[in-house]
Amino acid sequence: MTTLLSVEGVSKAFPGVKALDNVYLELRKGEVHVLLGENGAGKSTLMKILSGVYQADSGAIVYKGKPVQFKTATEALRAGIGIIYQELNLVPHLTVAQNIFIGKEPVKMGFTIDAARMNRDAVEILKRLNADIKPTALVKNIAVSKQQMVEVAKALSYNSDVLIMDEPTSALTEAEIEELFKVIKSLRAQGVGIIYISHRLEEIREIADRVTIFRDGQYVSTDDYGDLTLDEIVKRMVGREMAHKFPPKKHIPTDEVILEVRDVQRRGETEKASFTLHAGEILGVAGLMGAGRTELARAIFGADPKAGGEIFVNGARVTVDSPLDAIQAGIGYLSEDRKAYGLALNMRITDNITMAYLDEVSTRSGRILKHLEKGVSRRFVKSLDIKTPSISQVVKNLSGGNQQKVVIAKWLFRNARVLIFDEPTRGVDVGAKYAIYELMDGLAASGAGIIMISSELPEILGMSDRIMVMSQGRVAAIMNIEGATQEKILHHAAGLL
């Protein structure tokens, strides 16, 4: 197989950080080359260099036998290197075809857009992807998975020989991922070289030809996927042996019911749901996307209005009409989207940790006692091992795992005894995942009750004491961890049982 693109000893430094240190990558025609590494390993930096967003400090990039250095993203695109970022870059109010051809619309008579031809060409490209999408549909009206296809189509419209995909599945459901993989395989058959970046080690099995691993900005290895075990990959990514993906359970569920939910419902989203949570217990909540897990959690927390039902905390009935009611009852909620719902990104670590409980660090007249506040945040930065140069660091600049820890610290400081973790490890790298599991285990061991919503079945099976499966807005099953299997959960989740 011929080499399409090779990265030879590229380095890139930012003020204070060496983001890439002499790294290598070789992409062949018609292969899916998976690039793995924890957050901060330098994957995104390399992608940005390849696509012309950044320029390398040293080293060479050889593309189709010639050394290249792209100065802008457009230059890279024109040369045939397409990139699909983690976040979709589409204009929601334009049509599918308009999005695909944005910036290179076919024109007639020199200046008017040839809409008919654009739509025809769009159909052509979409057909290549086996995607059933109307070119005239508005992007905002189609499903996220289809939007992802439009992104791929956009990249292909430049006749790309190289396609870079940065965590393309993070917003997709299982079925949608299947669709995407079909497309990737067909592109591979057509000779396109694909660089595929992912955190999800399980999913790459299906598509990976070769795997390159980076760690802390340095090149570690390149192998055929078949020659590697999952354990070996993880070991190389984190640089240490991770014999177990989950920490040994230290917590033991008690008989004490810390939370009881009776017939709580969100109109139009979920049916009536009832369940209990014990002190010292982790209750895993599994289900497919759209099963109503987050909706139920938000209703319990008072973030969205309920259509009836009762909530008991430590046996006492509490009225929860707002997040404040829930917080005062000792309930904390960690959203699945911490950037949108969990953190004030422009504010400091300290501000975020004390946000839900400023009363504790201020006088009755409302003056914040800054020395107390700093003490609190220092305590949590230390006990949760939040990696930061200073407690005054703006949260935006932290890695995903450390951001998640800041949200956890917020609820711990608020003395929450019932914690709802909604997708606690989404967008968090392997090493930090383990730390968050340990934290959850420790919290349960100290008597807290945890509801853990997760779409990753290994996580559900690895951490839970009991498992609640939701399907189409209703509680389909509640089972003990003993005897629970992925198959059983999936059956309930799909509504087959």
Binding site: F301, P323, A326, A340, A344, M347, A356, K382, P389, S390
Partner: protein
């Protein structure tokens, strides 16, 4: 924070030093601009750097600074208030009519005028909170309503013939000294600090403190940084936004009272487009229209930059229209510098 013990496992290294520097730079870039203006004008215009003129500048800057303090609160929550100029006129009309037609005590009338501004702020807050209107639209409507009311009740005529005490805030000064001149006639020595400037300075300090050191202030930043995350942290976001708009309305009204008091006449047509001066001072001072970032000290500096520019250009004999062009360019320059600095980070 330099002398406090550091948490174990973290290094107080270049990073925090760099952050600290960036923060200082942000603050002092505007201040350095102000100092540079002062130096330049002092060098070209001989009468510029005199006690009389500096006090004059302070007086001229007071109204912008007052309105700027108020709108800083709203802008940090991510909102905007376009009704400031109209509230300025309306509050003056309220105070003037209460004094003239109802023979109220001047200070009680001033207080009532300020309250009318707070009330308009309350209405703005209600529209933003409950009707879920974008702040731009809500306050645009209010801009027209308040101006229309002020013109309606006065028939668009000014209210002259107010008692002398009506001019106390705008014209009075503290610590005026007199001396005998060569011919033995008593003349003013030190002109004194104008009452309005003292009022502005005291309020600036108080509201600086509120914004930087109280729960309310922290919540204002939090709402502007991420409203939904703030709500989910159990904070009454509705209340916070009400406070911001009411503070803004109150300051706009105060600014109106100072303006009318200075003229000892109520002008229902005063302050058209004045909100733009207030917003400009805020933005020049580094407050982001996106919300979550900014502060009172920057706004005061921004207000003085505008004040000094106007005064200096006047003294230099620059035509009013040209002044507008220059101030417009300064706003663009100041925010560009900010953007450039942020991008480099």
């Amino acid at each position: 924070m330099a002398n406090e013990p550091l948490p174990a496992g973290t290094a107080m290294d270049d990073e925090s030093a760099r952050l600290l520097n960036a923060d200082l730079l942000q603050k002092f870039a505007a201040l350095a601009g102000l100092v540079a203006l002062l130096v330049v004008f002092s060098l070209i215009a001989r009468n510029f750097f005199t006690v009389d003129n500096l006090i004059n500048i302070c007086r001229q800057t007071t109204t912008i600074a007052l309105a700027g303090i108020g709108v800083t609160f709203v802008i940090i929550t991510g909102g905007i208030d376009l009704s400031i100029g109209s509230v300025l006129a309306m509050s003056g009309v309220v105070a003037g009519m209460l004094v003239k037609d109802w023979e109220w005590n001047v200070y009680v009338a001033f207080f009532a005028g300020a309250l009318s501004g707070v009330f308009v702020g309350f209405l703005n807050g209600a529209m933003v909170n409950f009707l879920r209107l974008p702040p731009f639209i809500a306050t645009l409507g209010m801009m027209m309503i308040a101006r229309g009311l002020a013109l309606l009740v006065t028939n668009a005529r000014s209210i002259p013939g107010l008692p002398e005490s009506f001019g106390d805030i705008g014209n009075g000064a503290l610590g005026t000294t007199y001396r005998l001149n060569a011919r033995g006639v008593e003349v003013i020595g030190f002109p004194g600090i104008p009452h309005a400037v003292i009022l502005m300075a005291v309020l600036a300090v108080v509201f600086y403190y509120i914004l930087s050191s109280t729960k309310l202030g922290r919540y204002i930043y939090a709402v502007g940084s991420n409203e939904e995350a703030t709500r989910l942290s159990g904070i009454n976001v509705v209340k916070v936004k009400f406070f911001a708009y009411m503070i803004c309305g109150g300051f706009a009204a105060l600014s109106g009272i100072v303006t009318m008091s200075r003229l000892v006449t109520v002008q229902p047509t005063a302050g058209v487009a004045f909100e733009m001066d207030a917003i400009a001072s805020t933005v020049i001072g580094g407050t982001s229209l996106m919300g979550g970032v900014g502060g009172i000290s920057g706004t005061i500096i921004g207000a003085f930059i505008i004040g000094v520019l106007r005064n200096g250009l006047n003294m230099f004999g620059v035509q009013g229209f040209v002044q507008q062009i220059i101030i417009g360019a300064v706003i663009i320059l100041a925010v560009s510098v900010d953007q450039f600095r942020n991008r480099k980070k």
